[in-house]
Amino acid sequence: MKKLSSSLIVSVLVISFVIGISLAGLAADKKKVVINSYMADPAPKETLKQLVNRFEEEHPDFDVTINTYPHEDYKTLIRTWLPSKKASPDIVTWFAGERANTFVDKGLMMPLDDIWGEGKSFEDYFPKAFKSISQFEGETYFLPQSWYWYGFWYRESVFDKLNLEEPVTWKQFLDVCEKLKENGYTPISIGSKFRWTAAAWFDYFDLRLNGADFHMKLMKGEVKYTNPKVKDVFEKWKVLLDRGYFLDDHTSYSWQEGAKFLFNKEAGMYLMGQFIQDVVSDEKVKKDLNFFRFPIIDASVPIAEETPTDGYMIPKNAPHPEAAKEFMHYLATQQSQWFFADNLNRIAANRNIEETNYGPLVQKGLRMINRSDKVTQFYDRDTKPAMADKAMDQIVKFMVNPGQIDQILQAMEAQRKKVFE
């Protein structure tokens, strides 16, 4: 009996190995493309899968595999794949701008200059403005997929009830906060358990007070954090904290938990990316959500907005670069870009998609960006990871202890010296 059970186990193992090997063998004569993806959020994951299915229907000689990784682990693991000749995938999902540049600098990525088709170039597909986040040292390395905008989200029914208008200036914004507070709402919700929600605030104050050029210099480590202009950022922010406009105990909520206060009409406004719409499954709440631009503080500063952009790259060690480039071409086309954006309410990077194709809220976001002078990515996408990690700790610390601005600035400056000098 005992012998029988052990031989049963052995035979099950042998059979499963054989099946595994023969399944791998079946696909061997097709053109293989392996995509490693961080799109683990349910909706984008499904959309990418459908994009691949459509491609395989059009090109039956292709076999495209997606390996999805948990988002945070992906950022660590990609450092093991890229330098490896054996473990490298053909395509990786990645972020535009500084984060892409980090890998290009180390010579880990492949230029994409020959994927556009006969006589075409990057500019036939994407707006000129995308060059700065996709091209490095004169060559294109990054294929933009889609982007989204940031804004203050609110519930129309709450604003209607209190007779509030979307504020445009700083003063109007303070009035709205005050009115919300008087009527028993928490004016501003935030969940800063994961620190990036607070980093958005830092970015916006810096963009509104000091402008995008100064902000990008700061991100590149060319300006000291002890510069009085950076102190202004925290002083302005402190006004809101001192008046108690922010949600209590926000450090114990994730961004999603912070959003519940907005959805339940306990809080009035939430500075957040467009993906906040992905979380609402209640149609009534979804229809009631609207957003406005981060208020203008100094009218003489050119308006800048944050537009984090996601896309794809081909690693230098990709085992099937030719097939990967064919798939990349497909990803850049108007049809694929529209399919992705339309499914997820994002804005496609492809320039040939008409504004009128989008839904009303997306159109509003698109118009807001078109009327801006500059765009940036996001704090932890624009600066070096080691800098972002320490600085975001300090930013959250500021929200809890607004009195310690000077110590906080010194800690950020010490890290800037360590990372950039």
Binding site: P70, A87, V285
Partner: protein, 277 residues
């Protein structure tokens, strides 16, 4: 019973109950979350509330759309040979270290124990490199081999101490009868070590089944992943389907539990074995 004794027993039970409740609390949260719709999870901040309606929909979704059925099989394909391999090799090693006298015996044992002290995470990159060079990257074999070798340190230590308690006279008697050393191992040492092997087997099964790191580092293809890695890949940048992840975790946690319940008789026996000596 004296008053003091009642007080003593009472406070013991009180503390035991409090500690058990604390330990069960995460399980309770996973249990309620697995039945809630995403809408309810997102909108209702009181996560300790019971779900509005009980539905097994999310268990089904975890199994089908979540890909759990495939991950589940993978976990078995990885865990069973790893446990069997680690136990068999460690029993051989433990036998040699316990019963043969040779130079550097203690040193070899020391190396196995010392290897136990090194945190796995430190070896992540070297192991990744080795699996690349050997061409094992992204195969079941890579994970199985590394589990077997990493678990051997602890297993050899445990089994060597156990096999030492077997009287050497028994082995000598077999030698006098002309039995080969390997036959002595198979027919005398292994059967006598059974309680220890069963206890160790349960522990190893649980550890390997719950492993996350090696499955993540050594496997790339989605269709080779064990259940731990598969479940976590449902966690996104902004959104995670907590109901499906919870339902999947509960299914995954059931397996070590069943293994434990089936073999618990041996488990307690095996652990007691050392204590009563």
């Amino acid at each position: 019973m004296s008053k003091r004794r009642v007080l003593w027993i009472g406070s013991f039970y009180l503390i035991a109950i409090v500690i058990s409740l604390l330990w069960l609390f995460p399980l309770f949260i996973a249990g309620t979350t697995a039945f809630k719709s995403m809408n309810e999870i997102v909108q209702n901040i009181y996560w300790w509330n019971l779900p509005d309606e009980f539905t097994f929909q999310y268990f089904a979704e975890a199994w089908n759309q979540g890909g759990m059925s495939r991950y589940f099989l993978n976990s078995f394909i990885i865990t069973v040979p790893s446990v069997v391999g680690a136990l068999f090799l460690s029993a051989l090693g433990g036998f040699a270290l316990a019963k043969y006298r040779f130079k550097y015996n203690k040193l070899i044992l020391g190396i196995f124990i010392a290897g136990n002290m090194i945190p796995f995470q430190m070896m992540m990159f070297p192991v990744f490199e080795i699996s690349n060079v050997l061409g094992l990257y992204d195969t079941y074999l890579a994970v199985i081999l590394f589990h077997v070798s990493f678990q051997m340190g602890f297993c050899i230590f445990f089994l060597r101490n156990f096999i030492r308690t077997i009287p050497t006279d028994l082995l000598d008697a077999a030698r006098v009868d002309g039995s080969s050393e390997f036959r002595i191992f198979l027919q005398i040492v292994l059967p006598l070590t059974k309680p220890a092997l069963a206890a160790l087997g349960i522990l190893e099964f649980t550890w390997i089944w719950n492993d996350y790191l090696w499955g993540l580092v050594l496997l790339a293809s989605d269709n080779l992943r064990p259940v731990t890695v598969g479940l976590v890949s449902l966690q996104g940048e902004y959104l995670s389907k907590w109901n499906i992840i919870s339902a999947g975790s509960l299914i995954a946690a059931a397996v070590p539990l069943i293994v434990f319940l089936v073999f618990q008789r041996y488990f307690i026996q095996g652990l007691m074995m050392g204590a009563s000596k």
